[in-house]
């Protein structure tokens, strides 16, 4: 089984996405033998009211909840986020969050964000953070959104040892404590592989060595990305089959209670 912890539905403001409806994403998943995918709203990245994107996703995944696992995009600086979180969890059955601190212009260390993380953790929700949405060099002339600095992630995971974080679309974890052995950080975060190298520098292999295969998860970033590069990484990765199986599905299955 393959579980993708990094997928999306809906429209993105700056580029047309293919495979961005439930039906077309499922067809793409079928063609790549991907069984389940965690999805959130691409539109909510730029909507002022992110809850509108969550509503779109909830509508879209209806009838497909066996394969599409919806996550909520919550902006803790937007009015009513507590209500939105409650609706997303209780009515929409969303098992986790995606946070966009740079796109939504807040600090992970801000009290509002801390409150959101604590509330989600209390409800057993997993919190995923895309380090980037797209490569900064291809950005629109309208805006310049930086990647989330890994130093800010370090402070976040330290501040919330009981929370569970999945870090998406990141790279260079081994250049900071997050990807190093015996780093003194809580083991409350997992790293998704879509941008990690599996040959040459082989950061993926280094992370398995340093953190253990149980801390790495499969993800593609589809439909922003072709799913195939992530699949190829697992194919060429120099790791044992049990380790690959953890990455491919077991870790996500455990974290998300699938």
């Amino acid at each position: 089984m393959i579980v993708d912890v990094n997928a999306y539905l809906g429209h993105f403001a700056f580029r047309r996405l293919r495979h961005n409806t439930a039906a077309s994403l499922l067809a793409l998943m079928d063609s790549r033998k991907i069984d389940k995918a965690v999805v959130s709203s691409a539109g909510a990245i730029t909507y002022r009211n992110a809850q509108a994107g969550n509503e779109e996703v909830a509508e879209e995944v209806r009838g497909h909840c066996d394969r599409l696992i919806p996550f909520a995009v919550i902006n803790p600086f937007y009015a009513g986020w507590q209500d939105d979180l409650k609706i997303c969890q209780e009515e929409f059955g969303m098992a986790g969050l995606r946070l966009y601190p740079k796109w939504h212009n807040y600090q992970l260390s801000s009290p509002c964000c801390q409150e959101l993380v604590d509330a989600a953790t209390e409800q057993g929700m997993v919190i995923s953070i895309p380090i980037r949405v797209e490569d900064n060099r291809e950005r629109s002339w309208l805006l310049n959104v930086p990647d989330v600095p890994l130093e800010e992630i370090i402070e976040l995971v330290k501040a919330h040892p009981k929370a569970r974080f999945i870090l998406l679309n990141g790279i260079d974890y081994t250049r900071c404590p997050l990807g190093r052995k015996n780093n003194g950080l809580p083991s409350n975060y997992a790293i998704e592989l879509s941008r990690l190298s599996a040959v040459l520098a082989n950061e993926l292999g280094q992370l398995i060595t340093n953190l253990g295969a149980e801390r790495v998860m499969f993800g593609t970033g589809m439909p922003f990305n072709y799913p195939d590069p992530a699949l190829v990484k697992l194919e060429v990765l120099d790791a044992s089959e049990p380790e690959k199986e953890k990455i491919r599905s077991q870790n996500a299955t455990t974290w998300l209670q699938l």
Binding site: K33, W141, K233, E235, E241
Partner: protein, 313 residues
């Protein structure tokens, strides 16, 4: 039944992943425990006579954009070996390599030693590494002599230009004219972002290359890394009406649709496969593109091979 057909066949209960299926298959991973060969397969042809053209045969997978490590890096030798090992794993037969200076603009001594190292790489990895001659066009006569020395005399397959000058500056023209005379392609570093790239003030983009192509319709100009050169949709559209500009798919960005759009806009015959050290990204994008097997064969090697065969004796 071809490898592609076997991979896409649902009736195949235990498809075997080979080097080539990594590139061409779409669902091999789904089978989970597929084993990879630890060494290169017999499909990689050894050079027969030492002449570059003898190594270009149909069906090869050619990475049009690769680099050997600069020897100021302590790990250069191991890094070069890792590149070949990665190519082995991914089914890439040949890598068109340059060695770049760590700082720009490149000095005369700087690019000269890089080309010596590229030549050495061709000796260390015979038949696998094909050399681009890297020059800074600002060195005028010396740059032209360097190209003649390595492309004319030592079997390099093309010229690599970086960001020392925008390709439309007249200082670049003699290099282009020499490339035409020798019948070899120029791989030109390129990027288009919607902001000024401060550390690369003379950056070339797809529009500049299209302008150069109109001035020199006989030149073979490869626009580097559409998937690592900023707004790839802009680049693809800028190159549309320049039939002698070829788009290199390399780069770390794996945006869905990028290869498909390149093929749709400029035509499959003008798209060439590359990695630029982003190996799984490079391979995965081609595998993921919604193209026929025949079109993928063209991108993976046939198109580049056509360019290399235009070399003049």
């Amino acid at each position: 039944m071809s490898i592609l057909q076997r991979i896409s066949s649902s009736s195949e209960s235990q498809p075997r992943v080979s080097r080539r299926t990594l590139l061409k298959g779409s669902a091999a991973l789904a089978m989970g425990a597929a084993a990879l060969p630890s060494t290169r397969g017999a499909a990689v042809e050894k050079p027969a006579s030492g002449t570059p053209s003898s190594t270009f045969r149909k069906g090869k997978v050619i990475d049009c954009h690769a680099h050997l490590s600069h020897r100021s890096r302590a790990t250069w030798e191991a890094d070069d070996r890792k590149l070949i090992e990665a190519a082995d794993k991914l089914g890439i037969d040949q890598l068109c390599c340059s060695t770049l200076t760590p700082r720009w603009p490149a000095t005369l001594d700087g690019f000269r030693e890089c080309n010596q190292w590229t030549a050495d790489g061709m000796r260390r990895f015979p038949g696998r590494v094909l050399g681009y001659c890297y020059v800074n066009p600002g060195y005028g006569r010396e740059a032209l002599e360097e190209v003649r020395r390595y492309v004319g005399g030592r079997g390099f397959i093309g010229i690599k230009l970086y960001n020392e000058y925008t390709c439309t500056e007249p200082v670049v023209f003699p290099i282009v004219e020499l490339a035409i005379e020798l019948g070899v392609p120029i791989l030109h570093h390129a990027s288009h972002s919607h902001y000024f790239v401060e550390d690369q003030p003379r950056l070339t983009d797809g529009g500049h290359l299209a302008e150069l192509a109109r001035r020199y319709p006989e030149a073979m100009l490869i626009c580097a890394h559409i998937s690592g050169g900023g707004d790839w949709e802009w680049t693809v559209k800028a190159a549309r009406h320049a039939p002698n500009v070829f788009l290199d798919t390399s780069g770390s960005v794996t945006d869905d649709g990028s290869v498909d759009m390149a093929v749709a806009v400029v035509g499959v015959d003008r798209v060439v496969f590359g990695c630029d050290s982003s190996m799984t990204a490079g391979v995965g994008k081609i595998r993921g593109a919604n193209l026929s097997a025949q079109d993928k064969e063209k991108i993976l090697g046939e198109n580049m091979m056509k360019l290399l065969r235009r070399r003049k004796p």
